[in-house]
């Protein structure tokens, strides 16, 4: 990993240059008072100093609606629809980078998902160091996602007049290729970077009352907590929390066919474990028939199941779900409430012993 310095003023020229090299550039841009990741046609629209986006950059790697393959129902021919273009995502926050690390893991475990892999391979991630909390609901420091994971290609740190550019991969090098407005860091540049990094931590607070490493066990002993019923009462089952979450990746698959019943496609669309039908089987049995059970599943997945299955937390503390939820159900409050309930319980039962994985 190597470090370069780029004056902020060069950013636009760099973006334009990348576009002229046939890269599609996306990044945070302001729309109706919110920020969304969208194609940057005018470099002036790119806002790197943004609070958070409505949907996470996940939408480019696992599009909300993606054609898996096209078919001809008469001839039974089918061919995959994997269309990717070299894509640079600018301004990915560190929490979202951690989420991408989880998505990478999931889609490469067992049978790899070629669609995700193709998008991922064509994508260049230019992440940015978060120097101050982006919004009220975020709790990245608690989740350990306030520094960038390995997954980046380039990582920017705002030094005031310049960006420190960490090069994380060959793909990252490729982006800087032939761009003359970057220089090797001097002693004082290193010092500036270290100062900025040291100064950022006090701006963030720990919001989780327990340590993140305790979460899986805390959740294990909270399967029967009365809190789930409380959440279930309030939850609207609107599914917004799962739509905005950078680590949610569940999907539904449906076929679409033209009116001649000949040509069609099989598409996958983002699904949500919060909706009624998510876990229904053919006999009509619903394995998570109540909102309480579905909320429990969601938080278990965030704080325990995904960690056990993939070794990475299923929540990165971005706070999007907290901001979206109309009935104020948030991961921090939920985890803290469970923790408090445990603390105040007189006799603390031993955590259950985990079964070996099959």
């Amino acid at each position: 990993m190597s470090l370069r310095i780029m004056p902020k003023g060069a950013l636009k020229a760099w973006v334009t240059r990348l576009q002229s090299r046939q890269f599609k550039v996306v990044g945070p841009k302001s729309l109706h008072g919110q920020y969304i990741f969208d194609e940057i046609t005018d470099p002036n629209d790119l806002v790197l100093d943004y609070p958070t986006s409505v949907l996470p950059p996940k939408k480019f790697l696992l599009p909300p609606r993606e054609t898996l393959f096209r078919f001809n129902a008469r001839t039974m021919e089918s061919h995959a629809e994997i269309t990717v273009e070299p894509l640079i995502i600018f301004g990915v926050h560190t929490c979202d980078m951690h989420a991408i690390a989880l998505l990478d893991k999931v889609h490469n475990t067992g049978y790899a998902d070629q669609h995700y892999k193709a998008h991922r391979a064509a994508t260049y991630l230019v992440s940015i160091e978060c120097l101050k909390p982006c919004m009220e609901g975020s709790f990245c420091k608690s989740m350990g996602t306030l520094t960038v994971p390995e997954a980046f290609d380039l990582h920017l740190t705002d030094l005031g007049s310049d960006y420190a550019v960490d090069v994380g991969s060959e793909k990252g090098e490729e982006l800087l290729e032939g761009f003359s407005s970057v220089w090797e860091p001097t002693e004082s540049d290193y010092e500036r970077v270290n100062n900025v990094m040291a100064a950022k931590w006090p701006h963030f607070s720990y919001r989780l009352e327990c340590d993140v490493t305790e979460l899986p066990d805390l959740l294990s002993i909270s399967q029967k907590s009365p809190l789930w019923d409380e959440l279930g009462e309030r939850c609207l089952a609107c599914g917004m929390c799962t739509k905005v979450c950078p680590t949610c990746y569940c999907f539904d698959v449906t076929d679409e066919i033209d009116l001649n019943l000949e040509k069609g496609e099989r598409v996958r669309t983002w699904d949500s474990c919060q909706i009624e039908k998510f876990a229904v089987v053919a006999g009509g049995h619903n394995f998570r028939s109540s909102r309480a059970l579905r909320q429990r599943h969601r938080f278990m997945r965030k704080g325990k199941y995904q960690y056990e299955a993939f070794g990475l937390m299923g929540c990165v503390g971005c706070g999007r779900c907290a901001a979206a939820c109309l009935v104020h159900i948030t991961p921090v409050d939920t985890f803290n409430e469970l923790y408090r309930m445990r603390q105040s319980a007189k006799a603390v039962p031993q955590p259950q012993i985990k079964e070996p994985q099959p």
Binding site: L68, F69, F71, N72, A73, M76, S78, H79, A80, I82, V106, H107, T109, G110, Y111, A112, D113, Q114, H115, Q223, K224, Y249, C250, F251, D252, V253, T254, D255, I257, L261, G264, R266, R268, D271, C273, F278, A279, V280, V281, A282, G283, H285, F287, R288, L293, R296, H297, M300, R301, K304, Y305, Q306, E308, A309, Q352, K354, E355, P356, Q357, P358
Partner: protein, 283 residues
């Protein structure tokens, strides 16, 4: 000879199925039909009992269906017993022999049949649960000498809903094999047991020490059958169950079948009771 799974994996996308022809269709009951699916020449299925395939009709959708024929009876084709329950399964029922479907798989782990060698086996099937079990039973019967006593318990809604009755007769005639049937509701001509599947247990004499149980049926059945089996001293690790969950991908991605850290499609659908007994929502 290449396996269908290799063909599935060879595709540009794991989600692309391979076309296959329906060789024969045999109506079984009012709601179930037996399909024999012929693989394209040069292909084998090479499945394990308890595995399933994803069956597609282009334009309608896809659904997981257990392979109900035994691996040793495959010969370039395999069987599916399908209940019409929704869009894909209804569309399958409307097809005629010679029609084309498309399949992916086989997926899942299936039953660890090698661990059953030398043991008595009790099969407990409820309704359509007999389908995945048939594959395993046939395998056991075909290699009868390698296993101990075999008990087959099968509960149906009514005598008219009994699936694979011919097979049941053949199995009953196999050495050291007992077949016990029960129905929830009787019909004229039925002189067998009436009642839920657990009503068969009191009449059974078996030694649980060296025994495995394999249980497949609707979700409601499991808890009661488990109680019977555990009460008779079967070890948690010797009780095997197969789970049904909504599945949209069968390759551990779509999240529908997730129970705790487990993806039913990949880590199951067959599990030992020991593996899942502490998982809320599993049963």
């Amino acid at each position: 000879m290449t396996t269908l799974l290799n063909e599935t994996l060879r595709q540009e996308s794991i989600y692309i199925p391979t076309p296959a022809r329906i060789a024969t269709i045999n109506p079984m009951t009012a709601t179930e039909k037996l399909f024999r699916v012929a693989l394209p020449s040069g292909f084998s299925l090479a499945h394990r009992p308890g595995q399933f395939v994803e069956v597609s009709i282009f334009g309608v959708g896809e659904a997981p269906i257990s392979i109900c024929s035994s691996p040793s009876h495959s010969n370039g084709s395999f069987e599916l017993c399908v209940r019409s329950a929704g869009k894909l399964t209804n569309a399958l029922h409307r097809l005629s022999p010679g029609g084309t479907i498309a399949i992916r798989g086989p997926f899942g782990r299936g039953f660890p049949i090698e661990r059953f060698r030398g043991k008595d086996i009790i099969f407990v099937a409820g309704g359509l649960g007999i389908a995945p079990l048939r594959s395993l039973i046939e395998e056991v019967i075909a290699d009868r000498g390698k296993y101990g006593r075999v008990y087959i318990l099968y509960g149906s809604r009514s005598p008219n809903d009994i699936l694979f009755s011919e097979d049941l007769k053949l199995w009953a005639n196999a050495p050291r094999t007992e077949v016990h049937l029960t129905v929830d509701r009787t019909a004229p001509g039925w002189d067998g047991n009436i009642g839920v599947i657990t009503t068969l247990f009191p009449k059974l004499r078996f030694h649980s020490r060296n025994m495995v149980a394999v249980v497949v049926g609707p979700p409601v059945m499991y808890r009661f059958v488990l109680m019977e089996l555990l009460a008779r001293g079967l070890a948690d690790g010797n009780i095997w169950l197969s789970f049904e969950r909504q599945m949209k991908c069968a390759v551990g991605k779509c999240g529908h079948c997730q129970m705790h850290h487990i993806y039913t499609c990949q880590d199951g659908p067959a599990f030992s009771y020991a593996q899942i007994k502490n998982l809320e929502e599993a049963l």
